[in-house]
């Protein structure tokens, strides 16, 4: 019979074995990308596992930012991500409040309907819109494109925000209304401020999703100066890749950095929002 102590030590060793595997599998490709992004052209094709190049350089970053116009693409992504997530919050917050607080016929069915929207591929949404926007002269427009971003983010935002509203006792709204607030006043002055952590996490999560959105701008935008980073980098890969993998790698680092940094800083909020959205509804 093994003693409890050796059993516990074996468990710890096993835990770190899993960590080591995850470190290599998840961290390896990212480290490799970082390593390539600081190599000069003569060090791309070396067949050794050395991570830090002999002659590290940041030229790839300046080249990709200014010559390949990634600075424009990054700014475009930021605009679209902010428009999409702010719009999605404006549409979702009142709806989520109604689903959480008001009793009305068909509320359960509607909520499932919203869930169903989350399962629809953005491509299916965009196909008819492409033709429709073409006729209305709304292709290559940030207005129409951000509207579609909003539409795609709304289902997720509504479900998550409803979860956060459910966590606040309705008695607080009622008290505010007894004190003379209208229901909208109670919503704006009492309930919304109380779910501020929830609002933050839904905002950040939708902004991160919008940052990486691909299908919608791929179909609706054709003017390269309007491209978000996801399309900009795909075109860059198609045009130059083979002998400038190091520049492509620098572009990849720049494209993922904002999403990862925002996420890591605010992950405590987001992880909670994610699980409550999927499990508790």
């Amino acid at each position: 019979m093994k003693s409890r102590k050796t059993q516990r030590l074996m468990g710890d060793a096993l835990t770190y074995l899993v960590f080591l595997f995850a470190l290599i599998f998840f961290g390896g490709p990212l480290l490799w990308l970082l390593s390539l992004s600081i190599r000069g052209p003569q060090e791309i094709f070396i067949t050794s596992l050395r991570l830090i190049p002999e002659d590290p350089t940041f030229e790839n970053y300046t080249e990709v930012l200014y010559t390949a116009q990634f600075s424009v693409f990054l700014l475009n992504s930021l605009k679209l991500a902010l428009a999409g997530s702010i719009g999605a919050m404006l549409v979702s917050a009142p709806a989520a409040y109604a689903f959480s607080r008001l009793t009305f016929r068909g509320s359960g069915g509607l909520l499932v309907g919203v869930l169903a929207l989350q399962m629809v591929s953005p491509l299916v949404v965009v196909i008819p819109l492409y033709r429709y926007f073409d006729r209305l002269n709304l292709l290559d427009s940030y207005f129409s494109t951000s509207m579609v971003y909003i539409a795609i983010l709304v289902p997720l935002a509504t479900w998550m925000l409803k979860g956060f509203f459910d966590g606040i006792p309705p008695a607080l709204d009622d008290a505010a209304m007894v004190d003379g607030c209208t229901r909208f006043g109670a919503f704006r002055r009492v309930t919304l401020p109380l779910i501020l952590p929830g609002l933050t996490s839904v905002f950040v999560l939708t902004a991160i999703l919008a940052w990486g959105e691909f299908v919608v701008p791929y179909v609706l935008l054709s003017d390269p100066s309007m491209f978000p980073i996801s399309i900009g980098i795909l075109n860059f890969q198609g045009n130059y890749a083979a002998n400038s993998t190091n520049v492509l790698a620098a572009g990849g680092v720049l494209a993922m950095l904002p999403a990862i940094a925002t996420f890591v800083i605010l992950q405590r909020f987001i992880v909670r929002a994610l699980t409550s959205g999927a499990i508790k509804g």
């Binding site: 109604a98 499932v112 953005p122 509207m147 992880v271």
Partner: protein
């Protein structure tokens, strides 16, 4: 609020305690960007519409042609392999990491937060960048990271992206890299909700670690695993961004999944109606998955 306005809002349909105004923006978005497109996709699937000419007429022939096209079945088979393999691998890998992170946080072992952040970083990256990262890592030449690692343990290089079977495996690998984080988060939340008493009782009864895992952990996680399977299926079916930079659907059509095929039929072959038929198939799949999801949430008493 002015008295006149107040009198207005007291009425039945638009009062503050009625859902109408609260839901109006949502309903507008849903109608314009979901109901209308769904209707249009259905309508186009019954026509011979093309992106190249404005006129079209109604016909059932696009439906019959698309459904009798052997290419469709190849695409569906590829999609099925992609989805099933992603589910199996993400569930297992997600569970293994979740168990490790959960144990580490109970024992307060260092490194657990870093681990969780690292795995989740893969998930928050833009899909196109994930495809590019893996296209670089799985470069067919000897200087790709995967082939360098194989070389380091004395194995020869693999043409990851240029033969049909390895290309599909590569796409699955990249998808698992991306999606494992979500499985891990769900299952970690599930693990934390299992009461410690269950394990203590099992230990008193003489159960070993493995037995408690299979007789307590797995059954307790079952509902979350089911939800997880549905969500992985959805996100894998809608995966499009990652595949383009990685394989572009090739070599040949080896990694052309349903959503990519739909895009290509419309925007490469300009057949709006043919793509609409495929989009209808996608809509039907999402509908079926939604019903399954609703049933699960209902049986958990959360809806």
């Amino acid at each position: 609020m002015t008295p006149a306005k107040k009198a207005f809002t007291r009425r039945g349909l638009v009062g503050e305690n009625r859902p109408t105004l609260w839901l109006a923006p949502l309903l507008a978005v849903v109608t314009l960007f979901y109901l209308y497109p769904a209707f249009e996709v259905l309508r186009y699937s019954l026509t011979n519409a093309s992106l190249l000419k404005p006129d079209y007429e109604y016909t059932l022939s696009t439906f019959t042609q698309t459904l009798s096209d052997p290419v469709l079945y190849g695409v569906l088979k590829t999609t099925a392999i992609f989805v099933v393999a992603s589910i199996v691998l993400q569930l297992i890998l997600g569970l293994v990491i979740a168990v490790a992170v959960n144990r580490a946080s109970k024992r307060r072992l260092p490194g657990r937060v870093f681990m969780r952040s690292l795995v989740l970083s893969a998930w928050v990256m833009p899909g196109v960048v994930i495809g590019i990262v893996w296209a670089i890592v799985l470069n067919d030449a000897d200087y790709g990271l995967a082939n360098l690692l194989l070389g380091a343990i004395g194995l020869g290089s693999v043409p990851w992206l240029s033969t049909p079977s390895t290309a599909l495996a590569s796409v699955i690998l990249a998808n698992v890299w991306r999606g494992t984080a979500f499985s891990m988060i769900l299952q970690y939340a599930g693990l934390q909700s299992i009461p410690d008493e269950l394990y203590e009782a099992a230990e008193v009864d003489g159960a070993g670690k493995l037995q408690s895992f299979f007789y307590i952990t797995i059954p307790q996680l079952r509902p979350i695993l089911m939800i997880n399977i549905i969500l992985i299926t959805i996100s894998t079916l809608n995966t499009f961004d990652m595949i383009l930079p990685l394989t572009g659907g090739g070599p040949g059509q080896a990694t052309e999944v349903l959503v990519l095929r739909t895009y290509n039929v419309i925007f490469q072959n300009f057949s709006l109606s043919g793509g609409a038929v495929l989009a209808v198939i996608m809509l039907l799949i999402s509908l079926a998955l939604t019903l399954a999801y609703r049933r699960l949430l209902r049986s958990e008493g959360t809806l």
